[in-house]
């Protein structure tokens, strides 16, 4: 049997000579690579505008080789609405997606996110859910799980002090303007392959003009979780997926709006 040489290739949509500056073991690098691969496969690099926001996700524009604009914290979906609509008014259709953290998408920016979903803006939002505010050093976020210890929930998240976490993909799936809403994870090869397929589907739905498509990516944050990268992935597999199941919550092609 002949073994062919496997070459590591960098997707065209990743900037040349990029060195990811995320923490060791952080899933952002994997997520961004998947996005870049899908952009390549769908031939979207030249017609894309990406929206970065605040937090670790903002570094998107250091790595992706597509036109990028940064939005104020939480407003990525509003900025994406403006980009998409302005191009449409100008007679051109661009591929527009946001790349945001969970604090950005589901806490400070929930209003903009939810209303873009309700309006059925024909954009794609990617939300990296690492269950805390990563860039500022691991504070409790809207998605921190019950009992999770963070720098602002030192004895663990509890309902008396902090209330409950938001299940973003489930909520977004309830909006009629949404074509696709799913949660994926990146803790093993199987899930990474599934995540890529899901991202591709969400992108294709935008290309078909079906409305707002959404992917929540459960990601590790080893530095702030104070775990090794593999322990962090185990935590996602064994604990977080109980709160945040890996699932497609809405696919308009399978279950149209009533």
């Amino acid at each position: 049997m002949q073994t062919s040489e496997i070459k590591y290739t960098v997707p065209k949509s990743i900037k040349k000579d990029t060195v990811f500056t995320f923490c060791p073991g952080c899933d952002h690098g994997v997520a961004l690579r998947l996005v870049a691969e899908v952009l390549d496969e769908l031939n979207l690099r030249e017609k894309s505008v990406a929206i970065a926001s605040s937090g670790c996700s903002v570094l998107l524009y250091d790595f992706l080789d597509v036109d990028c604009i940064e939005s104020p914290h939480g407003r990525a979906c509003a900025v994406a609405t403006g980009v998409k609509r302005a191009h449409k008014a100008n007679g051109s259709d661009k591929f527009v997606f946001t790349y945001q953290g969970d604090g950005d998408f589901a806490s400070i920016g929930l209003g903009e996110s939810l209303h873009s979903a309700l309006r059925g803006e024909n954009i794609t939002a990617i939300c990296i859910n690492n269950t805390n505010y990563g860039m500022t050093g691991g504070q409790m976020g809207p998605t921190s799980a019950m009992g999770q210890i963070t720098t602002t929930s030192p004895t663990g998240r509890n309902k008396e002090y902090h209330g409950f976490p938001i299940k973003t993909a489930e909520h977004i799936a309830l909006c009629d303007g949404v074509s696709y809403s799913a949660r994926v994870a990146l803790y093993d090869i199987k899930n990474i392959i599934n995540a890529k397929k899901t991202i591709k589907k969400a992108f294709e739905y935008q290309l078909e003009g079906l409305g707002f498509s959404f992917i929540e990516i459960l990601s590790s944050c080893p530095t702030n979780w104070k775990l090794s990268p593999s322990e962090a992935h185990k935590k996602i597999e064994n604990e977080l997926t109980k709160t945040y199941p890996i699932k497609v919550f809405k696919d308009i092609k399978e279950t149209p709006n009533v």
Partner: protein
């Protein structure tokens, strides 16, 4: 053929925006500017232009941020307390050097205040309500015709300097109707092909961002912005003077207050008293230099505003030390009539004139 029409200030702005080539409007209702959004919600879809009833003013201004990055002419309108909500994004827009036109039809404050007309947001517009070293071009119309002319100018300046422009008027002007003519856009189009985001096709990818981890780059960026502001101050400062040549005292006022002040000028001139008027048409850049020149010949200035003295700060900064400055104003939301102005001015100048 453009002909004279009876137009409300708000409608004049909306119509002129369309005539200037505005292709995107994002808004949220608030009195006294709601007609702008209502009118455009009817007209823009007919022309397949972008109109979004935003979920909030925060949503609206951020949609504008995104839309302007494509090179589109973008307008957002709102009023006072809701313009406060937009300050964060305005700071980003200024740093990103994006052309957005923001109309603030001022109502009374602070806080929710009420819908009565006011000039209470001079400070917010001119000094800036957002964080960081940035400037917003501020135009202050005083008639419906100027609402038309300055809307065209706002789009032009925003594109030319890649800078946010605020059209600042009080609720009375937004709501009042006067004959005005909307002609074709008098300004040339600006080439923006070197910076817009329309897909990295046969060119390197572009970034529009305010975050700059490299300290030196950030500092350079701010220096570059500052150069632009110096150019603005040198080239775009605009004002109106009325009988200032031989004036014993000069009234300073902007917007609708300057109209009444002009009538007051006429009143004094008829009595043989030499009164003049100085009206800044651009609040930023403020006509400091011209006002300073005037203080060489006129030693008494009276600033009139529908607030507790906001432009007064810039008037004070303009003048030489041996000049007397008085202030006439009422709290925001309380219209200052011609006769009230005269009463107050009489009090200030009574020692100098026997015939008052």
């Amino acid at each position: 053929m453009s002909e004279k029409e009876l137009l409300k200030g708000n409608i004049a702005i909306a119509r002129s925006a369309l005539a200037a080539g505005c292709s995107c409007y994002f808004g949220y209702p608030i009195t006294p500017q709601t007609e702008i959004g209502e009118f455009l919600s009817y007209e823009m879809p007919k022309r397949k232009l972008a109109y979004v009833c935003a979920e909030s003013e925060i949503g609206a201004i951020n949609m504008a941020l995104g839309a302007s990055a494509t090179g589109a002419k973008v307008m957002v309108s709102s009023s006072s307390c809701a313009v406060s909500l937009m300050q964060e994004a305005l700071s980003y827009i200024a740093s990103d050097e994006l052309p957005v036109v923001l109309v603030n039809v001022m109502r009374a404050g602070p806080g929710q205040g009420h819908i009565y007309p006011s000039q209470g947001d001079y400070n917010q517009a001119v000094i800036g309500g957002g964080n960081g070293d940035y400037k917003t071009i501020v135009l202050a119309p005083s008639s419906v015709q100027e609402c038309v002319d300055m809307t065209f100018r706002a789009f032009y300046l925003s594109q030319k300097y890649r800078n946010p422009v605020i059209l600042l008027l009080d609720g009375m002007l937004g709501q009042m109707a006067e004959p005005a003519i909307i002609k074709d856009n008098p300004y040339p189009e600006t080439d923006n092909s070197s910076w817009v985001l329309n897909g990295a096709n046969q060119r390197p990818a572009r970034e529009i961002r305010s975050l700059e981890p490299n300290q030196n780059k950030l500092i350079r960026h701010i220096y570059e912005m500052n150069k632009k502001y110096k150019a603005l101050e040198a080239n775009e400062t605009d004002w109106e003077e009325y009988q200032t040549q031989d004036a014993d005292f000069i009234l300073t006022a902007f917007g609708t207050m300057a109209r009444s002040a002009k009538a007051v000028c006429n009143y004094y001139r008829e009595k043989g008293i030499k009164c003049g008027l100085f009206r800044p048409k651009t609040l930023y850049p403020f006509p400091f230099e011209r006002l300073r020149e005037l203080t060489k010949t006129t030693k008494k200035f009276i600033d009139i505003e529908m607030n507790m003295g906001q432009m007064l700060r810039d008037v004070r900064l303009s003048i030489l030390s041996n000049v007397q400055i008085s202030f006439i104003g009422k709290p925001v939301g309380d219209w200052l009539s011609e006769s009230e102005m005269i009463g107050a001015i009489d009090n200030i100048i009574k020692d100098c004139y026997a015939n008052i």
